[in-house]
């Protein structure tokens, strides 16, 4: 049954495979407004890089013919059979221009019906050096949200400009969002050059205006290309129609860009994703190296606890490693039995991330409902999810002129600077230093929608409000007054959990304990235990149970988890004799 064992490879197959195996991944975001020719540009790139199959091309030929027919209201022409039969290469030249390249990329029914692009799509392209993942981000509908989505992972961006129209406000907006999301390299494709007779002066006028602007945004490199997406000039082939252009082709530029160097150079960050514990003798912290490099023997610390230990081993399915760099998914074993679980982060002792409860961030708002500063949201950053509140909007970016405007809130597609307060500390770097650990998403706790994307700027200055959050009554004083230790008790998720909680409450009350039963609400449970009570929590949702454990741990509360197999007496006994312990 094993078909894997193969005879030696033929030399030409070997060469093809080696070529394919040594390719680097490059993630690209292509942005442009309606009618800038973005779908056409992407379709053209796929077509010229052999990223399309013959039947896909045939389908597009048929659809192109239909569309052309619909436009002219002529009888639908049948596609010449010789065209269908012709290979991809043979179709170069005049016939190519009959193809509507945008049809290669607009995939949903509504998109084809309306001739528009409504959502981010991903395309795949292979060049001799690169595998390129293209985020095809529609510019007009909810452009901020879509652009941010595509740009979040991109190593490079391409912005389209219509040569006839020049630099428009939307071009500036696109460049601004690209820089905000940290795309290091930007190309501006001045498209439809065929419609301005490949005029050099037009190109240079648009170019110098954009380059001046882009430099203020802090890109590492900005390049300009005079192109015609529908005719194929300077996209994968140099154009004879722009002899004055010495900047090469768009594809040549994509192949020349450095690869992921920012992640490699940053300090080591390892968000703990999942704890592997197949048996008592093995405890591995599974995760993906977010940035930097770790070696066996390195001294590391676990955050937020700050406990120090050494890396005892780096394990993979394929055997142990001596070192691991971004973005490898590995499993780390530590030299000591230090407490580390999902949501924690490992870093070298000399360059830890910041553990911040209060921080300032740039926020792109996606929610249909505007940002509500009185409401609790959830923030997911690296592998940690924490309840959070956007305490204040400092300003909103006016995308028309990129000015900063005072604002109370953010509406759909708004971008602003905010002050965020999290109940558990986030382990972060500034986004401009580290796109992996400086990024977060905002989730609506009720609807579960992803309503925002955030980029950490740094710690918020601690104002008066931060200071009063610390209670003036210590846990020791509460203990002395109440004669008990505030404890969180999590009941097993059984169908009778609620009635069991009330039974326990009654028994413990009769024994003189200060006790209360809580259903599901993490915040209430934490507040009660923090105030010195025994809080009996029953919650069915695994997410709630996890959140409770994580938060009890961060708050340093005494923790007890009851077992479904225990009878009432045993449970009462355990609670009464609870020793201080953390989950």
């Amino acid at each position: 049954m094993d078909t894997a064992l193969q005879p030696p490879l033929a030399p030409d197959v070997q060469r093809l495979l080696e070529e394919h195996s040594s390719k680097e991944l490059l993630r690209l975001a292509v942005v442009g407004s309606v009618d800038d020719g973005k779908s056409t540009l992407i379709g053209r790139m796929l077509y010229e890089c052999d990223g399309l199959f013959e039947d896909q091309i045939s389908a597009v030929r048929r659809a192109s013919a239909k569309r052309a027919a619909a436009r002219t209201e002529a009888t639908p022409p049948t596609v010449p059979p010789e065209l269908l039969a012709q290979g991809l290469k043979a179709a170069a030249g005049a016939e190519e221009e009959e193809l509507d390249f945008s049809l290669f990329t607009d995939g949903l029914r509504a998109e084809r019906e309306q001739g528009i692009t409504i959502d981010v799509a991903y395309r795949y392209l292979s060049t001799p050096r690169r595998k390129i993942i293209i985020a095809d981000t529609p510019g007009h509908l909810q452009y901020t949200r879509n652009m941010a989505t595509g740009a979040s992972t991109a190593d490079a961006g391409v912005i389209l400009v219509d040569a006839r129209l020049g630099v428009l406000p939307q071009t500036r907006r696109h460049a601004y969002i690209a820089s905000l999301l940290g795309i290091p390299y930007l190309a501006v494709a001045v498209n439809k050059m065929d419609l301005v007779d490949f005029d050099r002066a037009t190109f240079e006028r648009i170019g110098s205006e954009l380059v001046d602007f882009a430099h203020t945004l802090g890109f590492e490199g900005v390049r300009l290309f005079p192109v015609s997406a529908s005719r194929g000039d300077n996209i994968t082939r140099p154009s004879a129609r722009t002899p004055w252009h010495e900047g090469g082709t768009l594809l040549g530029w994509l192949e020349s860009l450095p690869h992921q160097r920012r992640l490699d150079g940053a300090p080591f960050r390892f968000p703990v994703q999942y704890v592997l514990r197949p048996h008592q003798d093995y405890r591995g912290l599974a995760g993906q190296v977010a940035s930097g490099t770790v070696r066996v023997g390195d001294e590391v610390q676990v955050l937020p606890s700050g406990r120090r230990t050494r890396v005892a081993g780096i394990d993979t399915f394929d055997g142990p490693l001596e070192e691991a760099s971004a973005t490898a998914s590995v499993t780390l074993r530590l030299a000591d039995e230090v407490d580390a679980s999902r949501g924690d982060m490992l870093a070298h002792v000399d360059s830890p991330p910041q553990a911040l409860h209060q921080l300032e961030a740039m926020l792109v708002w996606f929610g249909e409902q505007p940002l509500d500063v009185s409401r609790r949201y959830l923030v997911k950053q690296a592998t940690r999810t924490a309840p959070a509140q956007v305490e204040r909007v400092l300003w909103r970016k006016e995308l028309e002129d990129l000015s900063e405007q005072p604002a109370e809130s953010l509406a759909l597609n708004d971008i602003g600077r905010v002050r965020l307060v999290c109940r558990r500390p986030l382990l972060v770097d500034a986004y401009r230093e580290n796109r992996r650990t400086g990024a977060f998403i905002v989730i609506d706790a009720l609807t579960h929608d992803t309503v925002g994307a955030g980029m950490v700027l740094g710690p918020a200055e601690t104002g008066a409000r931060g200071a009063v959050e610390a209670s003036l009554v210590s846990a020791e004083e509460r203990r002395a007054r109440l004669g008990q230790v505030g404890t969180l008790v999590l009941l097993p998720a059984t169908p009778d959990a609620a009635s069991r909680a009330f039974e326990l409450e009654r028994r413990l009350f009769d024994l003189g304990r200060h006790v209360a039963a809580v259903q599901g609400d993490v915040e209430v449970a934490l507040a009660l235990a923090g105030a010195g009570l025994v809080a009996l929590v029953h919650a069915e949702a695994p997410q709630t149970r996890r959140a409770l454990r994580a938060e009890a741990r961060d708050a340093g509360l005494t923790w007890l988890e009851l077992e479904a197999t225990e009878d009432l007496e045993r449970q009462v006994d355990r609670i009464v004799n609870a020793r201080e312990s953390s989950p």
């Binding site: 078909t3 093809l16 949903l108 959502d119 795949y124 989505t149 514990r277 998914s329 994307a453 695994p542």
Partner: protein, 305 residues
């Protein structure tokens, strides 16, 4: 392909790390995940990645085969041998009622058949076991509506996909929050292409069903589609007579609905060689995609994978 220096910089290694991240993230965030197992090459790659993600622990979820009862015999043989060899937990689910009603690909047409035996069966199985996340091996390069699908693809209480209500997905931060009854389809191979999959099969020496390799097989040519006569249930039209042809399959499903291609590729590298020069897309041999334009999108809205 054991050149470590190459392997280190390869995009395959990066895709692998990304997929493992997605697998672990799902298991960490959901209470009851399952992996859809269709016995195809993508399933084999996904399973291999899952074993890597949780090594040295066993897989923290079962496999689910939604069985139409019309798969190729070789697929069942392969499935049982592979599962036994690696000690995997496999659940097999069939739509019993549809079977009792005699629904089959010949009398009921591919649409009705697929809806009953695949979509309905899948939804039944997910509900019966209370799975809140289901891994699938779908790739975005397969089909245009797939290109729009998220890695974490939210499904409502009825298992339905709404392309206009997808959650934005940024960086590698996946929003895995669902309410009771809702679920997530998770696609760790989203960013892989067909070539990547085959290359990885070669690099990792992943076993796949022999039907992917050329052999003499009894086939009929039905309107340009080569169908293999895999057992006596195949309905032949008047004048149709199976002939032996050297064929293989690029994609595997139910045998009466899977078209073969003429080929002489008997090894993984020969398959790759052939594919690099191929000019037909993979799903071109899949009859169920061609019922009408956009048919994959419609199926997914109803709950199809």
């Amino acid at each position: 392909m054991s050149n470590d220096a190459l392997a280190k910089t390869s995009h395959l290694t990066e895709l692998e790390a990304e997929s493992i991240h997605i697998l672990r993230e799902t298991v960490a965030e959901f209470a009851n995940p399952v992996m859809l197992y269709s016995i195809g090459k993508d399933s084999q790659v996904l399973l291999h990645l899952a074993r890597k993600a949780f090594h040295p622990a066993p897989l923290p979820f079962p496999l689910l085969h939604v069985d139409t009862t019309w798969k190729f015999r070789d697929m069942y043989t392969f499935r049982d041998a592979f599962v036994a060899k690696h000690g995997l937990r496999l659940l097999v689910h069939q739509n019993r009622r549809a079977l009792a009603e005699g629904i089959n690909p010949f009398d009921h047409g591919s649409q009705k058949y697929t809806h009953a035996m695949k979509t309905q069966a899948l939804l039944e199985a997910l509900a019966a076991h209370g799975f809140d996340a289901a891994f699938g091996g779908a790739r975005r390069d397969e089909e245009k509506s797939r290109a729009k699908e998220r890695v974490f693809s939210f499904r409502d209480r009825h298992g339905q996909w709404d392309p206009r209500r997808q959650r934005p997905e940024l960086w590698n931060l996946y929003n895995g929050r669902v309410d009771a009854g809702e679920s997530m389809r998770v696609f760790p191979l989203s960013n892989w292409t067909e070539l990547d999959v085959w290359h990885y099969v070669l690099r990792e020496r992943i076993p796949v069903v022999p039907l992917y390799f050329a052999a003499e097989r009894p086939v009929i040519d039905r309107g340009g589609t080569l169908l293999m006569v895999d057992d006596e249930r195949m309905r032949l039209k008047p004048g149709e007579k199976p002939t032996l042809r050297r064929v293989r399959f690029r994609t595997l499903g139910c045998y009466p609905l899977s078209g073969a291609i003429d080929s002489s590729a008997t090894t993984v590298e020969a398959v790759i060689h052939e594919m690099i020069h191929a000019r037909q897309s993979e799903r071109q041999g899949r009859l169920i995609d061609h019922d009408e334009e956009g048919s994959m999108e419609l199926k997914k809205r109803e709950g199809y994978f």
